[in-house]
Amino acid sequence: MPEPILTLSHLSKSFGALKATDDVSLDLRPGEIHALIGPNGAGKSTLIKQIAGEIRPDSGSVTFEGQAIDDLGPADRARLGLARSFQVSSVVPGFTVLQNVMLAVQGASGASFRFIRPALSDRNLTAPALFHIQHSGLDGRETVKAADLAHGERRRLEIAMALAMRPRAFLLDEPMAGMGAEGAHDLTAILAELKSEAPILLVEHDMDAVFALADRISVLVYGKVIATGTVDEIRKNPEVRRSYLGEEA
């Protein structure tokens, strides 16, 4: 079994009396999609935020490529190669689609203190950006401001930006949401291809996508991992069916 790229050990975070994540340990291995599912408010996004460094866990630690990253801030973690997408699209509204993706490329490249050369004529930024725009089905929309995009288009932009960072691991928080049937379908294909480049920790409520994509699934309920296993194992788990899937599976 290959060494995990990302390991969470015993992460806990409370908000007042509420334990949003409660002693969570999991890992993400090269080449896999590890899906994280669970009821609303189970603590999935909170966990992503702790991995990305936006929230400090109360206890526990995160190891990334063999290095403990607990003392790093979110920007440093991103620079190390942990790219995340947001559950609620978080793009730069006043920027065009192209500029948004360029920003992601620039961030990953690490060179932001260049003052003279216009960014728009910097092929090191524009070429990868245009590639990822096309890849995410936004071609033709490069010069539209992000604020003027339809909801689903903005979701695609969110994905394009994560891809453009060419990270070592992805943290995707509900990437399918708002995409529409067609979009979800396209994205499923993209992610299936992407996982060989970098493994993906996928938070998602779209079970069709999860069951189609996931190599492993962990189920989070009230902040605790109640089960981890393959698609089939999870599908059959009665506790998961009751508290999460309902009639569906």
Binding site: P74, R79, G94, Q99, Q106, G107, I116, M161, M165
Partner: protein, 327 residues
């Protein structure tokens, strides 16, 4: 695409030059002085705009940097006049009358102040940032008022304008030329800066900090850099303003001054390169034209400003440019 973006800025700048030159030719030195004032406040505004317009850092304390630039100028000049040293420790430093020697000092002092104030203030955001920067400027202001060495509230005169190689700085048009040149250089630099990678990160941080961080860029460093550069430009403007009046006083440090520069920026159009120049020009022209009409000209000015806000949502430059993108 870039050319159409630059053109309006060029037009505004050219118009300012034209006004000054024509006024000089037709024997209206005062109009030249007003044009100089527009250039200087325009410069301060272009500096502030770097922080405020592109970085979203609404500094209500830029008078601090403007005033420091002014005080550095006046202190060096007055010591040169009295041939006394400015400081004897750690080394003896004499005053000077050379603008080219004064400016680097003014810019450095302002930049250093901006570094300190910025590093502390940037912990806060939005209105809180407005108020902390105000607080620091007010501290300097009250200090200047009550510190007797350089005149306190009375201010400090140095009677003759500082010199510039090859120019007669006392001739209004020549002094205007110096100010306009500094303005032009700064505008070009700021234009480049805002389109650069740095500018991309800066503008992104204004609109969505979380995204910038998630992209691996630390907004604090970006913002602090912008703030310091912005303070340095304001310091240079302050140095020029001191020379325009041959006099500095704590009013240069007061919140009214900060407010005035902000008003010029907003009036001209936030985040528009030539916006502050347009804003300063219109404001100063209105002051000049309305003054003689009535003792209550400020009310008229107020009404006109309200009309401008209501009908020119993106400032004067926005009005002139119509719906086109940000220049």
């Amino acid at each position: 695409m870039r050319l159409t973006g630059a053109l309006p800025n060029f037009v505004v700048f050219a118009a300012l030059i034209a006004v000054a030159v024509i006024a000089d030719l037709t024997g209206n030195p005062y109009i030249v002085t007003l044009a100089t004032k527009v250039a200087i406040f325009g410069l301060a505004g272009v500096g502030l705009n770097l922080a405020l317009g592109y970085g979203g850092l609404v500094s209500f304390g830029h008078a601090a940097f403007f005033g420091l630039g002014g005080y550095v100028t006046a202190i060096l000049a007055s010591h040169a006049a009295s041939a006394t040293p400015v400081a004897t420790f750690p080394f003896t430093m004499m005053g000077t009358n050379e603008m080219l020697a004064i400016w680097p000092f003014a810019i450095l002092v302002a930049g250093f102040a901006a570094l300190v104030i910025g590093a502390l203030s940037l912990r806060t955001k939005g209105v809180y940032f407005i108020m902390v920067t105000l607080a620091f400027a007010q501290m300097l202001y009250y200090f200047a008022i009550s510190w007797p060495t350089y005149g306190g509230e009375d201010g400090l005169s140095f009677y003759v304008r500082n010199t510039f190689p090859g120019a007669n700085t006392f001739a209004p048009l020549q002094f205007f030329g110096i100010c306009a040149t500094m303005l032009a250089i700064t505008m070009v630099l700021v234009a480049l800066l805002t389109q650069s990678r740095f500018g991309l990160a800066l503008r992104a941080a204004k609109e969505n900090e979380t995204r910038v961080i998630a992209s691996g860029i630390k907004p604090f460093a970006i913002r602090l850099t912008a703030f310091v550069l912005s303070g340095m430009v304001a310091g240079l403007a302050g140095a020029l303003f001191a020379d325009l009046n041959r006099f500095v006083s704590p009013t240069m440090l007061s919140w009214h001054m900060s407010g005035e520069i902000i008003i010029f920026v907003i009036l001209g159009g936030v985040g528009r390169l030539a916006g502050p120049i347009a804003g300063a020009a219109v404001f100063i022209t209105l002051e000049y034209l309305l003054g003689p009409i009535s003792d209550h000209w400020q009310a008229l000015l107020g009404f006109l400003l309200i009309l401008i806000v209501l009908f020119a949502p993106k400032g004067l430059m926005g009005l002139a440019l119509g719906k086109r993108g940000n220049a």
